[in-house]
Symmetry: C2
Subunit: 256 residues, 2 copies
Amino acid sequence: MLSKNQLKYIQSLHQKKYRQQHGAFLVEGAKSVQEVLQSNFQTELVVATEVFYKENAHLTDRQRIPVEIASVADLERAGTLESNNAALAVVRTKENRPLLAKPNEIALILDDIRDPGNLGTILRIADWYGVQKILCSETTADVYNPKVISASKGSFTRVSWWYGNVTEFLSQSGSYSTSQPIVYGAFLNGADVHTLSFGTSGYVVMGNESNGIRPEVAQYVTQRVTIPRYGEAESLNVGIATAILLDNIRRVGQAK
Amino acid sequence: MLSKNQLKYIQSLHQKKYRQQHGAFLVEGAKSVQEVLQSNFQTELVVATEVFYKENAHLTDRQRIPVEIASVADLERAGTLESNNAALAVVRTKENRPLLAKPNEIALILDDIRDPGNLGTILRIADWYGVQKILCSETTADVYNPKVISASKGSFTRVSWWYGNVTEFLSQSGSYSTSQPIVYGAFLNGADVHTLSFGTSGYVVMGNESNGIRPEVAQYVTQRVTIPRYGEAESLNVGIATAILLDNIRRVGQAK
């Protein structure tokens, strides 16, 4: 059974301030909890219904993770999901380590992506397209936000991220590698992604939902690209645009 | 000022039952209201803040559309948006007319897309890729749901839809045209969308968020396609998958 203090602790993790203070975040729902228990994240507590616990005891017991049995009502009170009839996990956040794209590696740079749903979707897309590193501006939504974790459908366990000053990073990125990496960014007047000969390494910058890539970041974009439009919609959602760019990059890379 | 009866009427349109009964639906927010006023939809009432009305009077007055001035609080009470500081419109629904893809036209078939957010995103993507016809199974989310309209970002004004029995439609589609149209559908074991020589006409079937395309619909798919995966994510969101398919279809069509 969940104690009052445990409930209070779990609920505090709905907020970024307390996630940072405690170095912990929430993972909710059957599938995500199963995935995090099989990942290299360190889980400090699992709250589960009796049914979920019985079916997944091999995952928790092997690692000696404390489990509290709770009712569906308690699970929903503790967590953020409207409905959760399985489990939630309290998981340790990871150290914020710098990331670099290696040769033959594509990494994402997120410049001020504000919507948690978009960030979660982008993690899932990155994972589908084999992109393992995401560099986030400090103004990008918190990846440990329960909405991000939930929207990523388990992909948060397979993608790494770093939060920091992406402008500074880009200004120095040339000195990190033997050759200046290509930095792709979507603009209205760029090269057509259907015909561009994409490389197999470099960075892909995605900009803010309303304002796109900030000028101070745009100055480091070395290859402007454009997703051709065949109809009338004014824009594409940033998650959709990320998927289209990565799909075209992989298509060209595969053909090389 | 909004009368009690008007408020009650507008609030009733949050529900499908009353949208069908009254043959009307809600369009909310500055951008969407501006777009619908410039479309061929028939608007029966606009509720607007004084500021919005003054800036957009040319759109309402030209068509002699009744306008009620309201406070932001009243707008938000009447509508479904958490924040709306501009306007909402009550708009007549359209007749449910059958749709056919013409030669050199790509149309979408949605088989049981349940999430309104996904449906709205798909309208926006269709509009970006110049797809003007969407055939929806009767179990697909209601396009007039305020969440769909809002997520479509105005694209609902440029795309047509029909709700009906898509299985029956597909079983007869050969007899509607001189040649049997190609029906594309995404499956695990299909042709790679990066190398397939897509045609420039036919139907693209998108299936349910959890279960994919139903077997009774799948039997009419004449070209199975697959979006190649380079990483570990189990699946892509149906909106993302729609965008990737259409992007590849247009890329090939453009090169022909």
